[in-house]
């Protein structure tokens, strides 16, 4: 369960050692696009050294280089330890994710890891959007991040303010995730100074069924957390629903004139679960 995921460049010590301060639910340490080709080794070693010295209390996601790059194998060799939780795979297609799944099983066995490493595929190709239903079925996949900038590039269109070009991909990815009972994570908002735009964009993604949004600047985190947290009203209502369902085991009941049935009770349980997870209760 996440609301915000903060991208941190893996070769920058100043940012790594303060990443946990910004109240993002997860940090994504980037070994891919934020790192120059000359410094892939440097970023890998710095990230590993950092995590060994200062275990981070939140979810640690590593964005490795794409599976067909010459950096991928060493990325996995060096970076997969008990100190990380999740691998984020760029330009992910189903066959790539399955390959990664197998490699991770092998490494988990060799390194005797105590946990199962999760995978978040980064959907940033037109063809990936079209096979999203296959992607979400793969067991290790714990969530999906939509990468709109690279996707627009793949589509050879420009990114626009109202984001019409990614409307269908957004909706398709959100629905597929919901059906597979995993969380869809929305693409980062690039204009870091435009807070109003960020809030609008996050709310729109939320209305399509996204449960979280990636952040590329620490200043975005608190606003994203706000948007994707259950509101005070939702929490209060859900508590009343659960109260009511406890004392009305036999069947449907009503609150404020509204019929409360099983789907609403299940929704209330999810909301309270989220509220507890994010320390709002």
């Amino acid at each position: 369960m996440r609301r915000s995921l903060l991208f941190i460049p893996g070769n920058n010590p100043g940012m790594l050692q303060t990443a946990d301060v910004f109240e993002a639910d997860s940090i994504i340490i980037d070994l891919e696009d934020a790192i120059s080709l000359f410094d892939k080794d440097s970023a890998r070693n710095l990230t590993k050294s950092f995590l060994e010295s200062f275990p981070v209390q939140k979810e640690v996601i590593i964005r490795v280089n794409s599976i067909d790059s010459k950096y991928f194998t060493e990325d996995l060799d060096i970076i997969v330890t008990d100190k990380i939780d999740t691998i984020m795979l760029p330009k992910a297609m189903p066959e790539d994710i399955i390959k990664l799944d197998n490699l991770l099983s092998k490494i988990e066995k060799e390194k005797k890891l105590k946990k199962k490493i999760k995978v978040i595929p980064l959907v940033e190709l037109a063809k990936s959007v079209l096979v999203i239903e296959e992607i979400v079925k793969i067991p290790r996949v714990d969530g999906v991040l939509l990468g709109a900038e690279d996707l627009a590039s793949d589509m050879e269109v420009s990114r626009t303010n109202d984001s019409v070009e990614i409307l269908y991909p957004r909706a398709k990815v959100a629905l597929a995730c919901i059906a597979a009972k995993i969380e869809a994570i929305d693409t980062p908002f690039i204009s870091t100074l435009d807070i109003d735009g960020l809030i609008k964009d996050a709310n729109f993604a939320k209305s399509l069924g996204f449960k979280a949004k990636a952040c590329i600047h620490p200043n975005q985190v608190s606003y994203v957390n706000s948007v994707f947290s259950p509101s005070k009203e939702q929490i209060e209502f859900s508590l009343r629903v659960l109260e009511g369902s406890k004392s009305n085991i036999k069947g449907a009941f009503s609150i404020d004139g509204k019929m409360i049935d099983k789907p609403i009770i299940e929704r209330a349980e999810k909301i309270i679960s989220r509220a507890k997870r994010f320390g709002l209760l």
């Binding site: 050692q17 303060t18 301060v21 910004f22 200062f54 600047h217 620490p218 200043n219 608190s222 320390g279």
Partner: protein
Amino acid sequence: MKNCLRRNVPPGFKPFLGTNEYKNHKRFIIDEVISTNTSKVISDISKLFDLLKITDGFTLSFHHHLRNGDEVMNMVLSEVKKRGIKNITLAATGIFANNDMIAQLIIDGNITNIYANYINGKTGKVISEGYLQGNLIMQTHGGRPRSIEAGELKIDVAFIATSIADKFGNGNGLLGKNACGVLGYTIADMLYAKKKVIVTDSLVERVEYCQIEAKYIDYCLVVESIGKQSGIVSGTTKITKDPIGLKIARDAAMFIEEAGLINNGFSMQTGAGGTSLAVASFVKDIMKNNNIKASFASGGITSYFVSMLKEGLINNLYDVQCFDLDAVASAKINENHKIISASKYANPFDNPIVNNLDFVILGATEIDLDFNVNVTTSSSGLIMGGSGGHSDTAHGAKLTIIVSPTMKARTPIIKDKVTVITTPGEDVDVLVTERGIAINPRRFDLIEQFKNSKLKIVSIKKLLEMTHKYTGIPKNVEFEKRVVGVVEYRDGSIIDSIFQVRNNYEL
């Protein structure tokens, strides 16, 4: 000798006995010095030196309202150097990198004693290395006028850079080609120095608003330029963009709100420093969301507070110093932008504005487990700052908040004991860092109030331990035995000594 904080006090000085000790003493004021000179306008600095008989051992004073753009102090001290005058006591309210030429005058013995509220640049380094043959006395914005009015700091010639002046000796800082705004730090010098010289680059027939009054002025030195107005603005007078600073600022604003201090009619001050100024912007959001108006903001004024004044969010600004050109412009036209002297601002004996503050946001180079704060030296013991209004506002405000990251480039801000005490812990209430908020145990009322807060409240000891986990434990810096300067508290007592740095330190 030792004072009540067990810090060194050299012989001949009075030891600090607590921040309320001044209440046991009466205010003492010497007579004002009125000028008898009628022909005041002069344009030759050499002739001026002759007329004033400026010679060895004189005490010369200057202000820093043009900050890093000032040219008056350098110009006068160049004349001192030219004439080979020795043993000058320099009483400058602020010394900046712009005034690095002072370093050579110290080394050559032209300047042997210094009084200042703030020192940055090469001058601080040279003093720390032991070149000043006499004493360095670091004062506060409120303590300096107190010492002048009491006749302790005796000034022979006060040089007052005045952006507009008339031939009678009236002047102000609001008009003229290098307007610097309020001349708050000059008033005590104007009243009590033996001789007073205003230095201007804009001489007019008649000055309307007279912050500087003719009756006290002996000479009016007309020059090409008193400095550069643009030099007022610096990094420390703009809101920070750093995400860590912004997080700290946001948490500080939330703390103040939860402490119940943002109510209609409240008052506030933020120090110079990007993070302190950012707190003001978060406080502004809270004010707007709750329809709250402040009665006043005080201290060094920036465009940020000016815009709040214009928006009707604050009733009055009490300005002792303008930190940017918007503040200068506002001081000129806004009725509610009030001009005050340093004495009215912070002199403990003058019923100062600082006593009415609800909260103040300040910075720190170091803070220790007793909440003592150092803003005078770096952790290596180099002089690079000074109280300014730090200990004045910390004493007067109901709530004193220090905002700082836990470390800056590996150097921990929190220490067992600070290198030099500028402001004593009894006046410091809260430390807000990016990893948690520490409340001074003396404030059991706040500790109780924040028992169930969603803010991350931790003990300062815990914050220190957390920081050491990252940085490692720093080596104790060793100093020479020689005292190169003292930190004079607002009441004239000595709160700490500054020791000479060892020669093998590396910067």
